[in-house]
Symmetry: none
Amino acid sequence: MAILQKSIDKRNALIKATIELVNNAGFHATPMSKIAKMANVSPATIYLYFENKQDLVNKTYIEVKAEYTKYAFESYDENMSVEQGFEIIWKRIADFKLNDSENAMFLAQCDNTPMIDELSRQEGIKHLQPLLDLWARGKKEGIIKPISDYLLYAYAINPLSFLMMSQKRGAIILDRKHIEEAYQSAWNSIKTCDQ
Amino acid sequence: MAILQKSIDKRNALIKATIELVNNAGFHATPMSKIAKMANVSPATIYLYFENKQDLVNKTYIEVKAEYTKYAFESYDENMSVEQGFEIIWKRIADFKLNDSENAMFLAQCDNTPMIDELSRQEGIKHLQPLLDLWARGKKEGIIKPISDYLLYAYAINPLSFLMMSQKRGAIILDRKHIEEAYQSAWNSIKTCDQ
Amino acid sequence: MAILQKSIDKRNALIKATIELVNNAGFHATPMSKIAKMANVSPATIYLYFENKQDLVNKTYIEVKAEYTKYAFESYDENMSVEQGFEIIWKRIADFKLNDSENAMFLAQCDNTPMIDELSRQEGIKHLQPLLDLWARGKKEGIIKPISDYLLYAYAINPLSFLMMSQKRGAIILDRKHIEEAYQSAWNSIKTCDQ
Amino acid sequence: MAILQKSIDKRNALIKATIELVNNAGFHATPMSKIAKMANVSPATIYLYFENKQDLVNKTYIEVKAEYTKYAFESYDENMSVEQGFEIIWKRIADFKLNDSENAMFLAQCDNTPMIDELSRQEGIKHLQPLLDLWARGKKEGIIKPISDYLLYAYAINPLSFLMMSQKRGAIILDRKHIEEAYQSAWNSIKTCDQ
DNA sequence: GATGAATGAGCATTCATTCAT
DNA sequence: CATGAATGAATGCTCATTCAT
């Protein structure tokens, strides 16, 4: 195997270990030594790939966020109608949050905690642009309520994080029917009423 | 002042300090010594009121959660109509989350983090019963969608946490108009469509 | 024993351990844990008395330097003649350097190493003032060569450090006769020639 | 360039880097990786030329010491008179210490610190033999005081180290006049008095 | 010879918790 | 009740050294 590939593998193993351990115990309760052990490297090796613990978790956040948005928009096409486009994106996001729950949970923890640099947070937000563009189009067409994007996100997207956490905790198991109901609630909350 | 009152004051000071410090730095980045200093007591004194750090944060969570739900239901009366009752409760919750943001932020961090005992979490949820009862009535009357309470909560209530965090971070300032729009989205997402 | 005394004892034990260990191994090869062990306290206890390792060694330096100069000038009296005063001071310094060699060695290491803050170094120098005053008087009276104090110190006092180190290393054992010879050399090197 | 020359260059670069870095930060605060970087080689390469860090610093010491003594005796000739010979040697040493202060400072640090093997220290001393021989001759001729060579060195030579350090620290700038004064003090301190 | 990636051992420092007063 | 001094057990991070290439 190429030497470069080995490096990438190690980096990935570290990112993966970070996600899993931080999910289970939180940032500060996760020692570097444990991350190293889980990734099968020496603690010192982490510092070949990341500057320090904060950098490790920042980079992990950015990476997961990128993966998340890449997945979200993969099957979306700007020529779709607003409603169709929203449904496509929403379902991809639901898919990601509910199936790839390790990653989703990590993001939720980062987003509700002073665990991530403000800079990395900004970096992570940027990738949502296509959704904001879709909403802008929807507003112009009178299909989406003319309200702040923060409100739209709060009602259309963010509830999925709550559902993911609930499922993760075993409080509920989300089947196809739930997803459909959730989608309807999401759409109802942001579409203009007189449709 | 009664000696008992002095004790209560110290306990309250500890709870308050815990909230503020955990909000700013996270649970594990908040040393007991700092909490003690902010509450103007000796570190050892904390252990007269709480078993250990975990107990301190658990109890803090339960206390804040109780305060939260007490506030939420204070002006609600079971004789109100479902829609009226929901609006009353929702607006109280919005009030709490957006105005008493220290407390609300603390709850959000607890709810998205492995920081709280599962037991304490359960304990905290119980207090929401009146809202669940209201929803049950709404479903029977055909006013509220016949879907899982988790879904209802995810769409009707939880978005307020996201908005509170956004406001806390300075991304948005929520005025009366935003609140009204948010309420409409919340209601749209859970009411049955054919009204 | 008073609680205050116990504190002072611990602080002193730490200072003493620092001197001995740094003498044997150097600053960076002396772990805090070893210092703690030798002083019979926990590593954490050091940080109750000193801010960090650098602070510990700085404070140790200042303390030893103060002890050194206090000893040096103890039997000196400003009414003495220049020659008599110099002899008194010189012999006290010789006494200190050659008998209290642990302390003297520590000072020598600090003075020839980037181990001490520049600030602490300045602080340490201040105490030599009486000797400089004596030399000033000597120059005015035409007894001491009219040359820089640095030169006077280099020839009159500093050689004792070299002799102390040589003795410490076992290369020479300095008896009363050596001391007298050394004193003659010191005095010859700074007195004006035409006496 | 011959392959051998390239090797010598690397070794020299390592020695040079060691001196500069140890001067600035001390032995233990100077990582091998930094030495390697400054010498433009890989850390691993150091181990092709030296057994380990201790060996590197030992060899550096011996090399610098040899350079020092070579310089010191270069213009000395055994046929010179004792006084003339001493002046010649002394002035060469002063030259070295005050102009090649990087090297001189490194020696001073080694000589006042448990940084060097006792063996390497012995090795370094050997080269001073011509000076000791000169002194022996001087004693026989009644020109030099009949006292221990350690005393002679302490007063005649060692003060230059102190002056070099003072100059290095910016406390004094030594001009030709200072040097002449220093020489007089040195000579006064070791010559017999009745000349 | 030369390297850069890798590491185990070690270090300064912190912190939850205890205990004598 | 209340405390501040004390501590053992971590933890993040560094570094001399090795080794596959």
